[in-house]
Symmetry: C2
Subunit: 384 residues, 2 copies
């Protein structure tokens, strides 16, 4: 068996009609799982080809999400291109798009048509709000979905200082659910020999990741609000000042609190009624914070992290991206990899978190395609 | 074909040895896809059974992550229970655990042993840092992984006011990648008739969702930092004050900026050099914010949202959880469902975002099990 064939999606062909983030990240993961990703671009290309930073005019944003894919430009308004698209549909296993609802239909490719003519084809669609419901046609960007989806109302320093999650979690969560959807559809197709359709909404995915916020609201009828770095029900569980920089500490149970008090040499806290249980610490969090920071501010972060490590107290430095890329664990796990192509000689990208016993980590990423770079190769595939 | 058999994971048996969040959310999604989830609990149960809020002493936190699962208590230190576990391994397709590395090995269930004795068994393991590397044994909680993983350094009002993402994205991202892993392993097993092992690290998953932060740092050698609700390279793309409350606006291209200026009746901005391109707006974001907010503060949020809707300008209210559960789109898509069991008469939970054409949304969740509730049923399964 060839090495490639050992991957779960070896032999699977994905037509990728997506742009920017939600779709491209999903197909990037499918590519890492062994699928062949044919990126069908409009004549001026995926919008993210215009997003900085650039190296020799090639977008590093685009590269980070499209490594290893093959690019062909097709203009569905043009009959010749449309016929190539139809030939591709005959070869493909999966079609993924993140157009606004109705766009593929306008070109004649409704699910009804696709399913009738390509009964084994799987179609997965990502949109801001889904294909149904009163908002189905509203425009969506990550921040819109973060705002409507509630996560923004619980992220930030306090009620007046809410924050957007610093990475585009509105898109990325949809990417991950899209991959889950496609893999499920492939599993079902193995059994029933028929394709299926997934109608995935970025907003639905935001609702799904709110942890227990909905259940809590449903019981308490009070809206959760932003708590800075603190946890709503576990204390201490957040960031604390030291002499030079903040660190995070996570005290998940009483045993850890005891170890923590020993590490900071303040065992008196264990005997103080206001701090002797998680519930009491949670109620008296301001007093607790002052007491802890008065001690932690006497030494540097590195001193305390070593003390906490010795006692098994979960704690960490708050890494900048520069710290992260140098982190020994991150390096050991090949989570920072090298990228190189004709234009870009040196770039770092995130690695693949799916560490299976049947696959080896790539330490160098495959090139991301230039616009229409693989047209010949793709047309040849159609003749095979 | 029975309705259940139409689901992708019909007939798949998952042994769920996970607790709290990362594992239970993963197996909850596998359950929604049709798998039978057998939750194997330690004698005092999943720790999250003790997390509030409670209704009639039943944890709503636990319920929100364990609906539809079956519970059996097994103490692997006890030989009788260990032999039941071994019988379950013979029946099972997938084993998932989120113990610290080494715990299953201590009980004799290393991957080598499992793979030798149950060659078709799939094992997926979630841990804080993975099973390899210098940090493999360090204790991890969500906030530790958010801090080490870099997302905390780019979330918050500004450099001095960083924030934890308000939902436990450190756990949840690992849950989603775990599901992707298990489904991939099932697909591979269909072809090669052998099980496999996944070693998933929460930290690795955080690195994977940083969007282009690593590529940007690699090019610019500058650390990204928190920007409140703003976007690093698109402007205006953030929250703005109105007369009564903040709203978010996302102007992704020049056409939208024109529509936006028309909607707020300030077409002069289009002709001002400091605002006439995204790059210039990005450079002059403070001036832009003052000018926009001076206008928006003259009317209420609802007035502006209607204006923006008319012009197709992406904009939204920043929903609290109470707004979210009443949102017409969220309701239309069945993303808030009802929960009921012997103890809990009324609770709202998030619905399933995977809307396939072969499945129907559940509007009522299946009960989450009491501790050891399904022991008889599970032992009967072993005799079948």
């Amino acid at each position: 068996m060839k090495k490639k064939e050992k991957m779960p999606l070896s032999g699977v062909i994905v037509l990728d009609m997506t742009s920017v983030l939600s779709g491209p990240f999903a197909t990037s993961i499918l590519g890492d799982l062994g699928a062949k990703i044919i990126k069908i671009e409009k004549p001026d290309g995926d919008d993210s080809r215009k997003f900085g930073p650039f190296i020799n005019k090639k977008s590093c944003y685009f590269v980070s999400l499209n490594k290893g894919k093959k690019s062909i430009v097709l203009n569905l308004k043009n009959n010749k291109d449309k016929s190539i698209f139809i030939e591709l549909l005959e070869k493909a296993d999966v079609l993924i798009d993140n157009y606004k609802p109705g766009v593929l239909e306008k070109f004649g490719f409704s699910w009804k048509y696709l399913n009738k003519n390509y009964p084994k084809l799987i179609h997965s669609k990502i949109s801001g709000f889904g294909e149904t419901g009163p908002l189905n046609n509203a425009p969506a960007y990550d921040i819109i979905v973060q705002a409507i989806g509630g996560v923004m109302s619980i992220t930030g320093s306090d009620k007046k200082n809410i924050a957007r999650v610093g990475t585009s979690i509105g898109d990325i969560t949809a990417s991950l659910f899209c991959v889950i959807g496609v893999l499920s559809q492939l599993i079902l197709r193995n059994r029933v020999n028929r394709g299926s359709k997934l109608d995935l909404s970025m907003l639905d995915c935001q609702v799904a990741i709110l942890e227990n916020a909905i259940a809590r609201y449903s019981v308490e009828k009070k809206n959760p609000f932003p708590l800075g770095t603190d946890h709503p029900s576990i204390t201490p569980f957040g960031s604390f000042d030291t002499l030079n920089e903040k660190i995070v500490i996570a005290i998940g149970n009483e045993k850890l609190f005891k170890n923590f008090c020993e590490a900071i040499n303040d065992e008196e806290m264990l005997r103080m009624k206001i701090f002797n249980s998680n519930l009491n610490r949670n109620k008296n969090i301001k007093k607790l914070r002052i007491r802890i920071e008065n001690i932690l501010k006497k030494n540097k972060a590195s001193y305390w992290l070593e003390k906490f490590r010795e006692k098994g107290v979960p704690s960490a430095k708050i890494n900048n991206i520069s710290d992260l890329v140098e982190n020994p664990q991150v390096k050991y796990r090949n989570m920072i990899i090298d990228y190189e192509d004709r234009f870009i000689k040196k770039l770092k990208l995130p690695g693949n978190p799916l560490k299976f016993n049947f696959s080896k980590d790539k330490k160098v990423a495959e090139p991301a395609p230039d616009l229409n770079e693989n047209k010949k190769e793709i047309l040849k595939l159609l003749r095979d």
